[in-house]
């Protein structure tokens, strides 16, 4: 307790007369509608969807219902910030007064107890951004006992469709990898040496983005050689350090595939430091954060495949359909856009 007070006091002292650097960019998300997620597949569920009757949940009015949202990671990166904001904004727009939001701070045990708390507080609908895919049994049992429908976003949970959860809404990470490969093939004219900055090891996002990329390169451009793959752990600093090593030992590298934008921006800093010019090494990355899209405008990044974090509209629309008695498919795969030199400048306001 005393330590907490000391830290709080320290925070006050440290920020007492703070004055941050004046912001440089003034890009503001202008047309919020244009950035919403679009369903790619399946647009109409083919028979086997989950209806409210099968699930057993009582019907309720979304507006007056208690809705729980459990975020997995702390809102310290653009993706999570945009994701939480989108859920909150959409709830406000729909007039859902009773939205309860929790954040597990990247600790799985905390996320489990968060969701249990939400159920205890009487949540009638749960929207979960899971940190892990496994280990959800305690929550699923409680939710099933109370017949609370669960929608998971951006990551799946391994459980039974309809019995345990209603649907999963998210991107296809393997497809993102394939599309990144297409951009890389275009950038290099189908020939050259490519390095991969891998994401954090042991993460399904890393595995799927890697597999998709390699599959597509092998299938479409056998003349592109992947000569280097090292983890940058999804952080800018590691992305920079690994790229510095890379351009020392492999000066003939033609392209870098970064599995997220932060590592791509780290690679840009490393290339600048090594005296390279924009476009000397073609960079393709995945996410679609504003910094990376600005990187395309500046000529350092060739293309960015979007991983859209704005789940709000689609999540609540799906919930409404479910409540209206429509069958809901097991997976709702969203369509991710891509940014390249043709559209980067105009799309800057839509990047998150």
């Amino acid at each position: 307790m005393r330590a907490a007070l000391v830290l709080a006091a320290a925070a006050v002292v440290l920020t007492g007369c703070a004055k941050a650097e004046a912001p440089t960019a003034t890009a503001n998300p202008a047309d919020a509608q244009a950035q919403q997620q679009v369903v790619k597949s399946p647009s109409a569920p083919a028979g086997g969807g989950c209806t409210i009757a099968q699930h057993g949940s009582p019907k309720f009015d979304l507006k007056s219902a208690v809705v729980g949202f459990s975020q997995s990671e702390k809102e310290a990166n653009p993706f999570r910030i945009a994701e939480t904001k989108s859920i909150k904004d959409e709830a406000a727009k729909l007039g859902i007064a009773n939205l309860k939001v929790t954040n597990a701070q990247s600790q799985f045990s905390k996320q489990i107890s968060d969701v249990q708390q939400l159920i205890a507080q009487g949540a009638q609908l749960l929207v979960i951004a899971p940190l892990n895919s496994d280990g959800w049994e305690p929550v699923l049992q409680q939710a099933a006992a109370k017949k609370v429908p669960i929608i998971t976003i951006d990551r799946k949970i391994n459980a039974r469709h309809c019995a345990d959860y209603v649907t999963f809404i998210g991107s296809d990470f393997t497809e993102q990898g394939r599309r990144a490969a297409d951009q890389m093939i275009e950038a290099l004219g189908g020939k050259g040496k490519v390095a991969i900055l891998l994401g954090a090891p042991g993460n399904n996002v890393t595995t799927e983005r890697t597999n998709g990329f390699k599959e597509q390169i092998a299938a479409k451009a056998p003349d592109i050689e992947i000569t280097f793959e090292q983890t940058g752990e999804f952080t800018r600093e590691k992305g920079q350090q690994v790229t510095e090593q890379l351009i020392q030992s492999n000066p003939d590298i033609d392209g870098i595939y970064a599995e997220n934008d932060e590592m791509a921006l780290g690679a840009v800093t490393a290339l600048k430091g090594a005296g390279k010019k924009p476009g000397d090494v073609k960079i393709v990355s995945i996410d679609g954060t504003r910094g990376a899209v600005q990187g395309i405008v500046d000529g350092w990044i060739y293309a960015v495949i979007e991983s859209n974090p704005r789940f709000g509209q689609l999540a609540f629309a799906t919930a409404q359909k479910f409540l209206d008695g429509e069958p809901i498919p097991e997976k709702v795969i969203i369509e991710d856009r891509e940014y390249d030199s043709a559209n980067a400048k105009d799309s800057l306001g839509q990047a998150y």
């Binding site: 703070a18 702390k74 653009p78 510095e244 800093t269 910094g291």
Partner: protein, 310 residues
Amino acid sequence: MAEPARGRIAWFQEYGVYAAVGVLLLFNAAFTPHFLALDNFRTQLVQVAPIVIVALGMALVIGTEGIDLSVGSVMALSASVIALYLGYGAAPAILMAVLAGALVGAANGALVAFVGVQPIVATLALLVGVRGLANVLLPQLKEFVNPTLVAIGSDSVAGIPIVVLAAVALTAAVAFVVRRTTFGRQLVAVGGNRAASRLSGLPVRRILLTVYVISGALAAVAGVLATSRLQASDPTSLGLFMELSAITAVVVGGTPLSGGRVRVLGTVMGAVLMQLLQATLIKHNLPQSWTQMAQAVIILAAVYAARERR
């Protein structure tokens, strides 16, 4: 144990880290393409500089039979504070960051010296708390364009990067303090035998407090340099696991965890060894798990050598 064996161990302990660095350099010169380029050495030194600076502070703390787990979080705090104060210019921002680091060090030192908390517990509390504080002050990565700060991270003087010059200067300063000043002697005495130091009238508490303040300030300086190199303040991931890298450098460099001795150059070499090892495995495109296993082997070897000491 037979005399020659004991002699070998002693030699290994004294010069093992230098020998290992030499072996790695030879290996790379022979088998790694473009290793002998000047740019490559510059890259390795620039990357190792923040670790060296943190490890110097850690070596002093370990010399007093303590440990400072909060250093990585202090780097993150330093990054946050810089972002908050950059509006006043680079110098005031850096000053505030180092001050914040010294304050955390003072909190560590007060807990250890006056409250009597075990160093590992006290600094573990601040490892968690200070990272949280850094994230509260600056919730997400923030880029900056301040030309002075960018220059610190990327410019060179006479061909040597400023970041490296800073590490060299601080190494020299710490070496001077340890070898040539009363404070240096006192620090080692406190680590060697605290009871005897107290009985002979040394200001034990003040010495401990000072050592943790130095460690905090050095970690903050490392945070400033790492931030200036990244051209962005990143309190979420900057300095993560830095305490482990620093402790590894100190231990591999031959400073015993039981205190009473500080090896400054050995610590620098310990950091360089780990950096070279990582660079070697990255350049040969081996998986990260190999790096971790190789590091484990080196740490075990160092600990084994230290075990034979007493």
